[in-house]
Amino acid sequence: MAKIVTIEVKFFASLRERIALGSLTSNAASMPELRQDLASQLSTQAYYVLCGDGVRVAINQVFTTDDWQQSEAAIPADAEVAFLPPVTGG
């Protein structure tokens, strides 16, 4: 039986409020798969919000080194993937 891999995708601050969603689950094992899954789970408008300027993605609390919209990064099983708007510091 194939193992079902679930990742948790979290949205922070202004992103969470603008898409009116704090988190969702996905079976994506890579960033391309995640983009595809988000495009189907979210409205076009919400997906567009995530494509805003300066939005960064962290996988297991580490920023991806490339733009999430281009990233080919693998996503480990049970990972926590976070979408973070530009930080406004302390």
Binding site: F12, A13, Q61, A82, P85, P86, V87, G89, G90
Partner: protein, 168 residues
């Protein structure tokens, strides 16, 4: 390398308590402790909608925010001979004049302590993972990072301990 004290908390902090702690941690080698406390400004003057700012709400990403601060402190440790550092940052809902952040740096001499405290603050403003939202009588608004803050952070040279440009 010492273990920096990093605290993210919603409750207020007591400067004297943390000062005593870092004084003890710095030990006999410490000849200087520099401290900075940031207070919530009344954002009224710069609020985009002209409304009166009643509260400021800070959001963070538990775990990742602490790591982002640890990276800043580690960088400061690499630049200056520090003996101990403390960073306390509040999150949640704050009012104008509330304490929001505190940085303490202990070293043998004052130059390192002053510089490290300033460096850590400058990078907290631009690199640490926090988001601020202001609430006024006209509604809520997420604050965007300012060019002035970003300029301060890039003002630190990559290869030494000195600030290469200064802000007015």
């Amino acid at each position: 390398m010492f273990e920096p004290i990093i605290k993210i908390q919603s409750e207020d902090f007591d400067f004297a308590e943390h000062y005593s702690m870092i004084r003890a941690l710095g030990g006999e080698a410490a000849g200087a402790i520099a401290g900075f406390v940031g207070l919530v400004r009344d954002y009224n003057a710069q609020a985009g909608d002209g409304g009166e700012v009643a509260t400021l709400t800070l959001e963070h990403y538990p775990g990742m925010t602490e790591s982002s601060i640890e990276a800043i402190v580690t960088e400061a440790q690499a630049r200056w001979p520090l003996l101990a550092t403390t960073v306390v940052h509040r999150v949640g809902r704050l009012q104008p004049t509330d304490q929001i952040v505190m940085v303490l740096a202990a070293s043998a001499h004052r130059d390192a302590a002053f510089a490290a405290a300033e460096f850590i603050m400058d990078f907290l403003k631009t690199q640490a993972i926090f988001w601020k939202k202001e609430a006024s009588d006209k509604g809520d608004r997420w604050i965007e990072s300012t060019d002035a803050d970003r300029q301060r952070a890039v003002g630190w040279s990559d290869d030494g301990g000195d600030r290469v440009s200064s802000q007015p």
